[in-house]
Amino acid sequence: MKDMDALKKYKQSRKKCFLFGLALAAAIFLLITYTVGLGAMELTYPDVLKIIWGKISGNEEVLYGIKEGAIAVVWKIRLPRIICGAFVGAGLATAGVIFQSILQNPLADPYTLGISTGAAFGASLAILLNMMFGIFLSVPVTALAFSLLTLIAVTAISMRGGGLVSSNLIIAGIIVSTIFSAGISFMKMLAGESVNSIVYWIMGSLGSKTWSDVALVAPVVLIGLAVSQFFTSDLNVMALGESDAEALGVNTKRTRFMYLALGSCITAVCVSVCGVIGFIGLVVPHLLRFSLTSDNRMLMPLSALFGAFLLCGADNVTRLISNGEIPVGVLTTLLGGPFFIYIFVRRKGSVRAE
């Protein structure tokens, strides 16, 4: 009888993952549509649905009887912020799965290679230059440019240092991000009393995001997710290490490079738009891996959904409870930090047992 158990469990776990995915998708929909009505101006749930439906379908008649102001608050202020949060959460969690797998390190996250530090450097530079010369350099675009520059620098350094393998990439990431950190400190000093806007940007926030931010994040995250999902069975095998993965028929160099580029682009766009939102990319894949499955074919989409749910939820906490005073990046790090300690202690325990 024990024989049947493992096979049954295997099939059941697939089913469980599928159901959990459906539940998460439903929960995200409810969370978004429900919380968009909450805030300084409260709206009823039917009104919210009417506004969203009316705007999406272009059928303005259903909006009849709802105040202009309410429509503007929901459609122009709250909804883009919440949707942006969902995409960024999904993107960061997906990038987390990618980086942990290709770096073969469950403690890696989207920021391990210094892409976030590069973005923060770019943003600080743009903020500083705008202030000093009264110009209007786009902060997200500059941040994006510098995060991609970081990716190029990190891959170039690790290729020169012996190839795109985990240890080289991590070391190169540390080197590059240390240099950028020093640069950021220097700019903070130069900024003098206006240092606040740099500090606030780096902390990571979804406040005052618009549809144009969504337009930047959504396509990259969606395309990134689709492509990532296509090669997830290769990613599973990659977790076994270089030579074993190749012996199972995976072109490891190509796969690693492709996922490196994908994960980096997703991260770069997310960070450029919202600043450094910590721990989503680390915690989400981990939590799901330990409670549901390590199989990336399911872990990847589930992480995206769970990341979206978590960041939306966290942002609503900051928006509704602290009136947006606490940047969401601080909240996720405050909650994620202790979880990181838990992972670390648990991991050490399993190493010792060997």
Binding site: V237, A239, S294
Partner: protein, 258 residues
């Protein structure tokens, strides 16, 4: 090409930078034989195996699989024929043992193809034969080294290769598990015509279970033959620089006067 050998290394040499690891090694692997590779640490055994698997490309010479140059065969096609159990102990993610064994299907399955009931049944059969079915649903990160070796071997069998390359794949097994694993492998070799090339440090295992033994010394092929003929007093002196007493057809005793 029916009579051609399954795998043939012709005059292969390999260097890591300036370090010459293998020079001018030629080796034939026949269908349905168990070939053991022995030699001292650093004699080039693992490098030779990496060349045979196609993971490394020889600087000089070439490796042929069924008469085709290994370099001209795609990674995926190669993986349908050659399975490898490396020394890598890397396992950072809590895949279950069953999931790990099912990864052996990777080179044979299409993207998004789900595992069929027959394949699951096959996995169960293999895992029962290697005695790891008992903990099939346990995370691979939570089992012992010897258990892990048996899981990885099961994965290699799941891959259904015509050539199985083993790099000290039974080194952590207890004596009973090792004997039953070796018997299982030999049975596969006899039954399916699969060939095995295996690196061993345990010369007793080599003596008892190999059809043929190849010995490497400082990156060159020193000896090559059946264990009974090959493993003589001179062999131990030449390949391992130790004295040994040979018990005819029963084995040997290595003296400790090093």
């Amino acid at each position: 090409m029916l009579n051609s050998p399954l795998l043939e290394a012709k005059n292969v040499s390999f260097s890591y930078g300036k370090d010459k690891v293998l020079s001018d090694v030629s080796l034939v692997v026949n269908r349905g034989e168990y070939l053991s590779i022995v030699g001292m640490n650093g004699s080039g055994k693992t490098t030779l195996l990496s060349l045979l698997s196609g993971h490394l490309r020889p600087d000089k010479g070439a490796v042929f699989l069924n008469g085709r140059n290994l370099n001209s065969i795609s990674v995926r096609e190669r993986a349908r024929q050659i399975a490898l159990v490396s020394q890598s102990r890397q396992m950072n993610f809590p895949f279950t043992c069953l999931e790990l064994v099912l990864m052996g299907l990777h080179p044979h399955s299409e993207r998004f193809e789900t595992v069929s009931d027959e394949q699951l049944e096959k996995a169960r059969e293999i895992m029962e034969s290697t005695d790891v079915w008992r903990f099939a649903d346990k995370p691979i990160t939570e089992i012992s080294g010897g258990e892990r070796q048996r899981v990885v071997l099961s994965r290699a069998l799941m891959q259904n290769p015509s050539l199985l390359l083993l790099d000290e794949a039974v080194s952590e097994l207890d004596i009973a598990a090792k004997i039953s694993m070796m018997k299982l492998l030999l049975q596969q070799v006899r039954k399916t015509g699969m060939s095995v090339v295996s690196i061993h440090h345990d010369l007793t295992t080599v003596f008892r279970f190999s059809d043929r033994v190849a010995a490497l010394k400082l990156g060159s092929l020193a000896e090559n033959g059946t264990p009974e003929k090959l493993m003589t007093k001179e062999f131990f002196k030449d390949v391992f620089s130790v004295d040994a007493e040979i018990l005819s057809n029963k084995g040997f005793i290595v003296c400790d006067n090093i």
